[in-house]
Amino acid sequence: MADTNVTIPEHIPELRHHFDDTAQQYESSTLGMWVFLLTEIMFFGGMFGGYTVYRNLYPAAFASTSRFMNVALGGTNTAVLICSSLTMALAVRSAQLGAKKMLILFLVCTLALGCVFLGIKYVEYHEKWVDHHIPGPGFHFDQPRFQRQAQILFFLYFAMTGMHALHMIVGVGLLTTLIIMASRNKFSAEWYTPVDIIGLYWHFVDIVWIFLFPLLYLIGNH
C-alpha cells in the first residue's frame, strides 16, 4: 500500500508567531488534544470504576438486569458509531489532501450518523421510561428481590450512556462548526488542525461506547 505524502511549507498564514514551524504547531495541537482526552479517560474511568465495584457486589442482580437492555438497538448503535468513525477518518484524510468537497461530504455523513445514534438512543430511553426502568420512586422490576440492586445498574446505565450521549451532542455541535468552516474555505492541505483534533474527539467517544456496549448490554445475554 503506497502512502501519499503531502509536503507542507514551513511558513503559512495560519502559523502562530510563537511556533517555530508548522510541524511544531501541529504537534502542540495534537498533544494538547490528547491531554484533554486523558482527562476524559479519567472522567469516564471513575464511572467505569463504580460499575466494576457494584457489578462485583451484585453479580446476579446485574446479570438479570442486563437482560432488559435492548441488544438489537445497542448493537445497531455500535455499528452506527463505527461507521461514523470511518467517515470521520476519511474526512480527516480529505482535509489532508485539501479535497474540500469530499471533506464536507464526509463531515455531513459523520454528522448524520451521529444524529442516527442519538435517535436510536432516544428510542431506547423511551422504552425504559415505558417499562418503569428509570431509577426512583416509580421504578419497577419483575424480580422483587432485585428491586433495589437493579436500580443501581439502571442508574449506572443512565449515567454512563447519558454522559456518552452528552459527548455525542457536543460532537454534533463541533461537526456542524467544522462543516460551516469548511464551506467558508477555512481549511487547506496546509492547515486543517480543527478537523484533525475534533476527529480525535469523535474517535474517543466511539471508544467509550465500544466499552459501554459489552459491559451494559451483553453481561446477561447468555
Binding site: 505524502n5 486523558l38 453479580p59 441488544v71 476519511l90 471508544i207 456496549f213 459489552p214 447468555h222
Partner: protein, 100 residues
C-alpha cells in the same frame, strides 16, 4: 513538514475488522462460558479500542511524546481500577476471587 496520508484501503480494512468483532462479541455473548464471557467480551473491546487508537487516531504515525501521553492515560486508568478493586477486595467487601 510532511503529512502522511493513510490509504483509504487501510481505513476500510480496519472498519471491516471492527464490524466483524462487534458481530462476534454479540454472538459469543449468547453462549454460556461462565466467567469467560466477561473475559472474551472485554478482550474484544480492548482489541477494537486499540484498532481505533492506532489507525483512526493516527497513533501509528504520531510522535513518541504523544504515544507516551496515551500510555500515561491508560496507566493512570489502570491505577484507578486496580487500587479501587484491591481496596474493596482486601476489606472483604467483594464476594471472593470470582470477581471476573
Amino acid at each position: 513538514m510532511t503529512t502522511h496520508v493513510t490509504p483509504v484501503r487501510t481505513y476500510v480494512l480496519v472498519f471491516l475488522v471492527l464490524i466483524t468483532l462487534t458481530i462476534s462479541t454479540v454472538l459469543i455473548s449468547r453462549i454460556e462460558l461462565g466467567v469467560y464471557n466477561f473475559v472474551v467480551a472485554l478482550t474484544i473491546a480492548v482489541i477494537k479500542a486499540s484498532l481505533v487508537v492506532w489507525f483512526f487516531m493516527h497513533v501509528n504515525r504520531s510522535s513518541s511524546l504523544t504515544r507516551l501521553f496515551v500510555f500515561a492515560g491508560l496507566f493512570w486508568l489502570a491505577i484507578l481500577l486496580v487500587f479501587v478493586l484491591s481496596d474493596y477486595a482486601s476489606r472483604g467487601w467483594l464476594p471472593g476471587p470470582q470477581w471476573l
